[in-house]
Amino acid sequence: MTDSFISIRNLYKIFGPNSSAMISRAKSGMHKADMLKEFGHVLGLRNINIEIKKGEITVIMGLSGSGKSTLIRHLNRLIDPTSGEVIVNGTDILKLDRLQLLQLRRTQMSMVFQKFALLPHETVLTNAGMPCSVRGDDRRVIDKSAREWLHRVGLSGAEALYPHQLSGGMQQRVGLARALTSNSELMLMDEAYSALDPLIRSSMQDLLLELQEDLQKTIVFITHDLDEALKIADHLVILKDGEIVQQGEPQHILLNPADPYIEDFVSDINRARVLRVRSVMTETISGSTDLELLDGDENLEAAILRSKGEAGKTFAVHTAGQQVGTLKMTDVLKALVPAARRSNPSNAE
């Protein structure tokens, strides 16, 4: 775990007037609903442990009320935990005093918000430069880097406009540029794309992935949309009622859901488009050279297309010019059916 940029350990958050007294009850396993009914306290988060690796996109997914927005606000201490530790880049941020915390927020992290949260009375350029002007950087330096990042997110020419003159998608581009201008390692994105319509959301996801290829930032992304989570996640954390139900590589979660809740969650997605060849292949390397080649990062849809409907076909899977395994089309077909339905065929609709 040496490459962890953020470690969240044994984190609990309870909302209510006497939250510290409730901790022991939460630790001994009292349910969220019981605690609300008997003591009037809301159990926000229970025993959260996450290692967030440098340069990866960690997606925290859950339905509304699952505690995901509460969790991300612990990373910059917009919310203080009831118990537990949050370690960012080697420092326990719960031990910081007010000034150190300001410094942390100014230099180490930036945030993108669901409702954009731009300053309505300042221009796009000033908004994008806000993190730097808060730190008190030189005016010309701020404008230069704000212009650069606005250009990177595709907003050249909009510098002098005010936020309300832009569409929602463009406003969120300003929000993204603002986060990038701060030039910090960690980017927190709180349902950043949830307020956008599907087409714009998809193009914003592409923009984020494209930027990430160059920048290799550490990104924590909150969403309630599984398709979005699977598209951008390197590491996926699924929350339910303030607890982690499962976390790991998205492909792994898809193929091995830990419990019925997740099975239910993943049952409606287009598996052919999300699953990659490398997650389904067998790692046997056949010597024969007459097999057709297939890239391990292709999705199953591409493999099905390439097979032209032949169920008996086998491909040699390559990654970076090296053969890493073989893919039988029969495995592809099996992988397309969720595990739950495979073991219990009568459930299939």
């Binding site: 910059n76 917009l78 915390l101 300001l102 410094q103 942390l104 927020r105 100014r106 992290m109 930036s110 945030m111 918000f113 669901q114 409702k115 954009f116 949260a117 731009l118 300053l119 309505p120 009375h121 806000m130 993190p131 808060v134 730190r135 005010y162 309300h164 701060s182 927190l188």
Partner: protein, 318 residues
């Protein structure tokens, strides 16, 4: 039954109807001489006020002296300006504040009209008082409003006081002030106007800051703004439309008070109204009243045009 019996019966009935009197101070005094009468109570209150008057005056006099000075100077300056210079300056101010040609032309016509019926000097005195009092209301009221928006305790304590200031009949302000300050001093009416007109400036500053979008404030926190940066860069600019609405109200309340304040020697159009009442000069009173209406419309339209200009910068799609 005889008539006598009937009469005595009726008389007995009357005696029963005669109610027990409410045990007020005056009634209790009749029964026991050591209980004070209501008259004594009001007299006592007056004595109490007269006793604490001098120490209060020692503190308040120097504190409020700049107000007298500002009012006297503002009135003198306004009157020493030649009529054309005064009109040009006022029209320029209207144009800069509102940026609306229609409003500016209306201001020009109003002042020319007031000058034509020889009420210009009176109007300038009234205007000078209003400008000084509004400025002071903003300088004091906005910081109080900011403090109030930051502390729920302060808000709980101040709200009833503001309610009281707004509902007390305006004449009641004048009574203790007459005891405290001499009637020849401008600060007497200055304080009365400010106490009455400051309320909306405080209230709407508080409201405006409390209504600032929580998401934007959270963003300000997430990027590490200090509370000072938040106030100057987020809260005050976003509350500006509400603060401006408060200032508009303050101006209108100052105008209504400045007329009443003519009872305690405030110069201006109000003195003419007072003359109309005292000497039953109907025409004088009515024309001066009309002048006040014109002044009110001018002040309202200009400050409202300024408010709309600010709103336009903030509101999407406006």
């Amino acid at each position: 039954m005889t008539l006598d019996e009937l009469v005595s019966k009726a008389g007995g009935g009357e005696a029963e109807v005669e109610a027990i009197p409410f045990p007020s101070l005056d009634v209790l005094h009749k029964a026991c001489g050591s209980i004070p009468r209501t008259r004594d109570m009001t007299a006592g209150l007056e004595r109490l006020f007269l006793d604490v008057k001098d120490p209060i005056k020692v503190v308040l006099d120097p504190l409020t002296q700049p107000l007298s000075w500002a009012l006297r100077n503002a009135i003198e300056t306004m009157q020493s300006l030649p009529w054309w210079a005064a009109i040009i300056i006022l029209v320029l101010i209207a144009q800069l504040a509102g940026r609306r040609v229609g409003v500016t032309l209306f201001v020009l016509a109003s002042f020319l009209g007031l000058a034509f019926i020889d009420h210009f000097a009176y109007a300038m005195q009234t205007l000078a008082i209003i400008l000084v009092c509004t400025l002071i209301c903003v300088l004091i009221g906005v910081p109080i409003g900011i403090a109030m928006s930051r502390s729920n305790v302060l808000e709980r304590w101040l709200t009833p006081m503001l309610d009281m200031l707004q509902t007390l009949p305006t004449f009641v302000y004048l009574i203790p002030l007459i005891f405290l300050f001499s009637v020849t001093e401008p600060k007497l009416y200055g304080i009365a106007i400010i106490l009455y007109a400051i309320v909306p400036a405080i209230r709407l500053t508080n409201l405006g800051i409390r209504l600032v979008d929580a998401d934007v404030l959270e963003a300000a926190d997430a990027f590490g703004m200090t509370s000072r940066q938040k106030l100057l860069r987020v809260q005050l600019p976003l509350a500006l439309p509400n603060i401006m609405a408060g200032i508009n109200q303050t101006i209108m309340l100052s105008l209504s008070m400045v007329v009443i304040a003519s009872l305690v020697s405030a110069p201006g159009l109000g003195t003419l109204v007072l003359r109309g009442i005292n000497k039953l000069e109907l025409g004088v009173g009515l024309v001066a009243g009309l002048g006040i209406v014109i002044l009110a419309i001018v002040l309202d339209r200009v400050s409202r045009a300024a408010l709309q200009r600010v709103n336009k910068m903030h509101q999407p799609g406006a």
